[in-house]
Amino acid sequence: MRHLLSINDLTKSDALSILNTAETLARASDGPMKKLPTLRGRTIVNLFAEDSTRTRISFEAAAKRLSADVINFSAKGSSLSKGESLKDTAQTLQAMGADAVIIRHNASGAAHTLAKGEWMSGSVINAGDGTHEHPSQALLDAFTIRKHCARGNEDLTGLRVAIVGDILHSRVARSNVVLLTMLGAKVVLVAPPTLLPIGVQSWPAEVSYDFDSIIGEVDAVIMLRMQIERMTEMFIPNAREYSRFFGLDKDRLATMRANAIVMHPGPMNRGLEISAESADSARSVIVEQVKNGVSVRMAILYLLLAGTQELEI
């Protein structure tokens, strides 16, 4: 595997190998030697054409724990914001010797364009492209669900996961539907009809407009961030109404299964899609997702860049 552009690039065994490697690396990170020498001398570029502090620092932390050199190249003030083409940026990074480029971009398919252009020899890792995919987020979500909910299996067989909110514009949802299903879970998408794409019937997921009928039947619920623009774009009438029908408040929280968990990719809009009680409850694994994100991203970098090299811990 050279690039990670889409979950569709992965087989089930690739996905499990990322999760298993992440577990090994997580154990190592909890030990006395946080930093591993694995990617010493390798250069990793964070090419962030769209703001995302969380994902950027998560990848940065992951790369640094593997001893790689990290160059941050972010939107504001960069040549990309001055209209430089992706091609020229790629060729520049190639000339500077980038072994991997982690790209975040507001255009769906930008990571594909960067990789398929053959403008550079390094790996391309999609850190979120428009409303298309966010593979590392899905992998960290799967990692978190497996840790808390797996029924004695290596995969997610037998589990049911709800993804709630703006599915139409969500790259997290697109990656998760494919990955969680591949790993054996059943996914149910919960949203008002305006926030579900035409064509969603082709996805390997159930669809529901009624959060209350679903909340008590799932092992994990992933709450998506609700963008304020969606109200002015008339996808929903207003925030109050959204919150009432699709928000995770304490009443809904109380109806969840005994060991079910609450997840959110962040950043949260407390009081809109999720109440403070839910975000801070014992069921919430939202902060742990951030921690797991570093381990999973270490695994991705390790597997793409170090390949078959034995993991020395």
């Binding site: 083409s85 992706l86 091609k87 971009h105 255009a107 769906s108 398919g109 930008a110 594909h112 364009t113 398929k116 252009g117 492209d129 428009g130 409303t131 298309h132 995919e133 790259r171 697109r174 794409p197 035409i198 064509g199 969603v200 019937q201 082709s202 996805w203």
Partner: protein
């Protein structure tokens, strides 16, 4: 002029054999002859179909304004290579062809190139802005004698503006060629809205955004007893609505592009912007409905919507890329593959859909006539069984955004004769 040509051993669209003698721009004989007339240049049309010269009603030649992508000359050469003898230069140039001086300029560039007849299309509204009517009468009355008006690239979305445009051009037998795209339903749209767009996260362009305008304009054309032409129909629903209109005798004509006869939205999965086009590639079901509609005559013509774009506007993120594809050089091969080889159309229908019907819609009186003694010699010779591999580096267009790159297509244009002159000779 003065050149003598002899096209021997060809098969006409109706299946009969003929040797065609041409002199001083006119067909002088269609009798089989044992040998070529003296001094005539011989074109061997053995195993070839000899058609009336092709006419394109929808072409972007980019001049003036984007000469890096195409010029009237380069577009004319590409047209001749595709078997065309006439093209219709769309109005969305810089400056816009919304007044007599721009259309006359483009018309003269075409005359000077002398490879095909270039008929300028006039804008419907000033600056293609959809608000105020352009100098329609002045363009009609100019040396370019404009009869086709279109804001192509933009839809004339305001119902009142469209009403007045349809009515106004009745005064000189003009036609409004509508780019049917409801703007509010397609704001920021990137590709057909459906299964593929849902998976790719690209903003959808629903079929109904096209169909709603087609339906509205058909009702307007009926009410006003005016002539309406629908550019590049792409949906099964659009074909249905036009079928309904024709059954009621409403004066509507429609076109389909070669790419919409062959390609589907599945190609967008590559995120290769060469497949980004307006209107977008649709589904297999739509492709099949378009083919049936074309065979049946619900869709009257094939028009290329040849849309050259400089490399840098395609070699980028999909959502940043320009809309459009090349079409002139491959149109006849695509029609051969999708319509003739599938048994949906014979060569007589090809001649109707690609020569006589477009000439009639555009009121291009010197074009689209059956090959006959005394007729102007506009002729296309195609070898339908020979194949060629499309190579974007070998196109005559100044741009290379062909979606057919690498495809092996059936049908090689062997000769194009424009007004008795050989403007393209292929198969060498």
């Amino acid at each position: 002029m003065g050149e003598k040509l002899f096209i021997k051993n060809g098969t006409l669209a109706n299946g009969s054999q003929a040797d065609i003698s041409i002199s001083d721009g006119v067909i002088t004989s269609m009798n089989t002859m044992p040998s070529a007339p003296e001094g005539a240049r011989v074109i061997d049309a053995k195993e070839c179909i000899v058609l009336p010269g092709l006419v394109d009603l929808h072409t972007h030649l980019r001049e003036p304004g984007k000469e890096s992508a195409e010029t009237v000359l380069s577009g004319s050469l590409a047209a001749a290579k595709g078997g065309y003898v006439a093209v219709s230069a769309m109005a969305n140039t810089t400056p816009v062809a919304d007044n007599a001086s721009v259309v006359e300029h483009v018309y003269r560039l075409g005359q000077n190139a002398g490879i095909v007849d270039v008929f300028p299309v006039g804008a419907v509204t000033q600056g293609l802005a959809g608000e105020n009517l352009a100098d329609i009468g002045a363009m009609a009355n100019s040396d370019a004698r404009v009869r086709v008006f279109s804001d192509d690239g933009n839809c004339v979305s305001d119902a009142l503006v469209m009403r007045h445009a349809l009515e106004y051009v009745k005064g000189f037998d003009g036609v409004i060629a509508q780019h049917a795209q409801e703007p509010r339903l397609t704001h920021g749209a990137q590709m057909n809205e459906g299964i593929v767009s849902s998976q790719l996260g690209l903003k959808g362009w629903p079929a109904i955004a096209e169909e709603a305008i087609i339906a509205r304009d058909i009702l307007l054309a009926d009410f006003l007893q005016a002539r309406l032409h629908i550019c590049h129909v792409t949906t099964a629903g659009g074909v249905e609505i036009i079928r309904w209109a024709k059954a009621r005798g409403i004066s509507v004509t429609a076109e389909v592009t070669p790419h919409h006869l062959l390609l589907t939205d599945e190609l967008a999965r590559s995120y290769d912007a060469v497949y980004k086009v307006n209107p977008p590639l649709r589904t297999e079901k739509d492709v099949m409905a378009l083919r049936e509609g074309l065979a049946e005559g619900i869709i009257d013509i094939v028009a290329t919507d040849h849309a050259p774009h400089a490399t840098e506007t395609k070699e980028c993120e999909w959502q940043q890329a320009s809309f459009g594809m090349l079409g002139l050089e491959t149109a006849l091969s695509i029609v051969n593959q999708t319509m003739v080889q599938t048994g949906l159309m014979n060569w007589e229908l090809v001649a109707a859909r690609m020569s006589s019907a477009p000439a009639k819609i555009g009121r291009y009186e010197s074009h689209g006539h059956e090959l006959a003694v005394g007729a102007k010699a506009h002729i296309t010779v195609i070898n339908p069984t020979a194949t060629h591999r499309v190579d974007r580096d070998l196109v005559l267009s100044r741009s290379r955004n062909t979606p057919f790159h690498g495809l092996e297509l059936p049908g090689v244009v062997m000769a194009t004769v424009f007004g008795g002159r050989l403007t393209y000779e292929g198969g060498k």
